[in-house]
């Protein structure tokens, strides 16, 4: 992976509550879905930060907040020191050049009534000063070539391509403005397994070529491990553990991470028998009414009285090398070698 530089994306105490309202004429707020509740992290130049967690833990909301597609309830997102969360108009448009997105579903993320050339060329039409008019078609062909598509297919429509190829079109669109950061929201989970590797490898190659930094959101732990330098684990809107890829996968300290990792399928039958499976009971609690203290305590086997009273902050715990949000953080190897 590329050499690490200074932080390019700084996220601090990011919070997004979606209000729950009742009534048609007189709207009354009766509560809030705490989709993202105080997430902080840095992303360095050329680095990949993987974000994992189960469905509904706030991963996709986090992606939308980073892209300024949703406005945060509080907290800040800075790109190169510039505040995104409150940027508007021309300022927001300028910021967006530096952060782009690859979406989950390649079947709905491309306008079915636009040609591939128009889709990949649209960034140049929106940001007209990036490429002079006569140059745009050449740039589009170049981009298609970069992502491994035939540039002669510019006049085709999305439905004429396979899922993997559509995802490449989406990646080409994201690359057009030469952003420094790309937020990948489950970029491969809608693809066949055989195609997933191709797309992940393409993303890795583009990272080296253009020095991109990725926020790579996925629920597939092995895909995240493959591409990430650092990994953050989310549970119910909170980051519960954050560290280098080897730290998270080999020496997880948060019980939730340990449970997640113990569920990864092991190809070697011998290892399968020796390893320890941690079975979590129950469903994650509702984000509209999260438990007090530690949010994981309702499903945690270590839960004690303090967990219900005091919320464990995400910080480096004694005896461990990386940040964890557990009062009883301790290393435990759950993935057999």
């Amino acid at each position: 992976m590329a050499a690490m530089g200074e932080p390019i994306l700084e996220v601090r105490d990011l919070v997004k509550y979606f209000p729950l309202t009742r009534g048609i004429v007189v709207r009354k707020q009766i509560g809030a879905i705490r989709a993202v509740d105080g997430v902080s992290f840095d992303l360095r130049r050329g680095e990949t930060l993987g974000i994992v967690g189960e469905s509904g833990c706030g991963k996709s909301t986090l992606a939308k907040l980073l892209m300024a597609l949703e406005r945060p309830t509080s907290g800040s997102v800075r790109i190169n020191g510039r505040e995104v969360a409150r940027a508007r108009g021309g300022e927001l448009k300028r910021v967006r050049r530096n952060i782009q997105m690859v979406m989950q579903d390649p079947y709905t993320s491309l306008n079915p009534r636009m040609t591939v050339g128009d889709i990949v060329g649209e960034p140049f039409e929106i940001h007209r000063d990036v490429a002079p008019k006569g140059d745009r078609r050449r740039r589009v062909r170049e981009l298609l070539e970069v992502v491994g598509l035939d540039p002669d297919h510019v006049n085709r429509y999305p439905h004429q391509f396979s899922g993997g190829q559509r995802q490449r079109i989406g990646i080409a669109r994201g690359l057009a403005l030469r952003p420094e950061i790309i937020v990948c929201d489950e970029p491969v989970s809608a693809l066949d397994v055989s195609i997933q590797a191709q797309v992940v490898n393409l993303l890795a190659r583009l990272q080296d070529e253009f020095g991109l930094a990725y926020v790579f959101i996925a629920h597939d732990l092995s895909v995240v491990r493959h591409i990430s330098d650092r990994v953050g684990v989310m549970y119910l809107g909170k980051m519960v553990e954050l560290g280098k890829e080897t730290e998270i996968y080999d020496r997880p300290t948060h019980p939730y991470t340990q449970a997640l990792l113990s569920a990864v399928p092991v190809p070697n039958p011998e290892g399968r028998e020796r390893r320890e499976r941690i079975i979590l009971h129950g469903d994650p609690p509702s984000p509209a009414d999260p438990p007090s203290g530690c949010r994981f305590r309702t499903r945690c086997w270590k839960a004690a009285e303090i967990c219900a009273v005091e919320e464990p902050p995400l910080r480096i715990r004694p005896g461990t090398g990386h940040a964890s949000a557990c009062h009883f953080a301790e290393t435990r190897d759950v993935t057999p070698a």
């Binding site: 967006r96 050049r97 128009d118 940001h127 191709q198």
Partner: protein, 310 residues
């Protein structure tokens, strides 16, 4: 990496009447240029366009089609009333002994103008307001939707009667206005629903992430994906409007003799239909042909605008 994908790169609909890739125009394609390229090769489109062309020519230059001027009372002969088809009167004669063929030709103008103008006004007004309401949502949407509900509550014939009674004169434009005022809420509803569906798609989110302006998102991403159902409804409504004009004429608030329209002819002829069917059948035939031509045109345009159906 691309070599592993080669088989999938063939267009999947190649066998279903898709055009061969090699003969495509080499310049940059767009939805509209591709649609036009496709339309010119569609028999349905060419057929309906020719038919519409003939009807429009009839409306603009009726004297090209007949030498008889039906506005001249001298051409009618009461002694010749309700005659069948003959060399002198190709479509026979009506209750007053006037030549049905020349009346059908001259009636095309009023019927087409009412049908087309009402359709255009309805589609533009309902379509634009629906696009705006669906896209913006919020208070604007609530306001416009409640207004349309008021119109839905008015029985259309009663409403048109009221509007035309206010104007006191039934001419082409007041009839058009009465029909359009009552018909736009339906188009609005359909457009609004289609826009709301399209607005939630990921490609709209992707465009926003690129920094696309609201007009760009509305007209480039949402409208092309929402316009299909409006086109279909508009072309079907066209026939309804021409027929509704007949209804209003029958009630005495639409066009009046000596004006000529297909609707007027149909309503004049219905009392003696069993005795003399021609004065009713021929304008009805032309009305049906017009409606059919526009429905076919609408279908062809809708299909051409959907890349998956090409």
């Amino acid at each position: 990496m691309s070599d592993t994908l080669a088989p999938a790169e063939r267009p999947q609909n190649g066998g279903v009447g898709g055009h061969p890739g090699a003969s495509r125009p080499p310049k940059a394609a767009s939805l509209w240029s591709d649609a036009w390229y496709d339309l010119r090769r569609r028999p349905l489109f060419v057929g309906s366009a020719v038919l519409i062309g003939v009807l429009v020519a009839m409306a603009v230059f009726p004297s090209l089609f007949t030498s008889v001027n039906p506005f001249d009372a001298a051409t009618c002969d009461l002694a010749q009333a309700r005659q069948g088809m003959s060399a002198a009167h190709r479509f026979g004669t009506d209750n007053l002994g006037c030549d049905v063929y020349s009346r059908v030709v001259y009636g095309a103008r009023n019927s087409l103008v009412i049908g087309l103008s009402t359709t255009v006004v309805t589609a533009l007004l309902g379509g634009l307001l629906g696009l705006l309401a669906g896209f913006r949502g919020g208070a604007l949407d609530t306001l416009l939707s409640r207004i349309t509900e008021i119109f839905f509550a008015i029985p259309s014939i009663l409403g048109a009667l009221l509007i035309l009674a206010i104007f006191r004169t039934g001419n082409v434009w007041t009839v058009m206005l009465a029909l359009a005022v009552l018909a736009w809420p339906l188009t609005y509803r359909i457009m609004r629903a289609a826009v709301i569906t399209a607005k939630g798609q990921d490609y709209v989110l992707a465009a926003r992430a690129l920094g696309a302006s609201a007009p760009r998102i509305m007209f480039r991403h949402i409208l092309p994906n929402a316009v299909a159902s409006v086109i279909v409804v508009a072309t079907i409504n066209l026939g309804t409007f021409i027929a509704a004009e007949a209804g209003l004429s029958f009630l005495g608030v639409g066009l009046r003799s000596p004006d000529i329209s297909w609707g007027l002819m149909i309503s004049d002829a219905r009392e003696r239909f069993l005795e003399a069917p021609w004065p009713l059948l021929f304008p009805a035939l032309f009305l049906s042909l017009t409606v059919l031509a526009f429905i076919m045109l609408g279908d062809a345009v809708r299909d051409a605008l959907d890349p998956k159906l090409r």
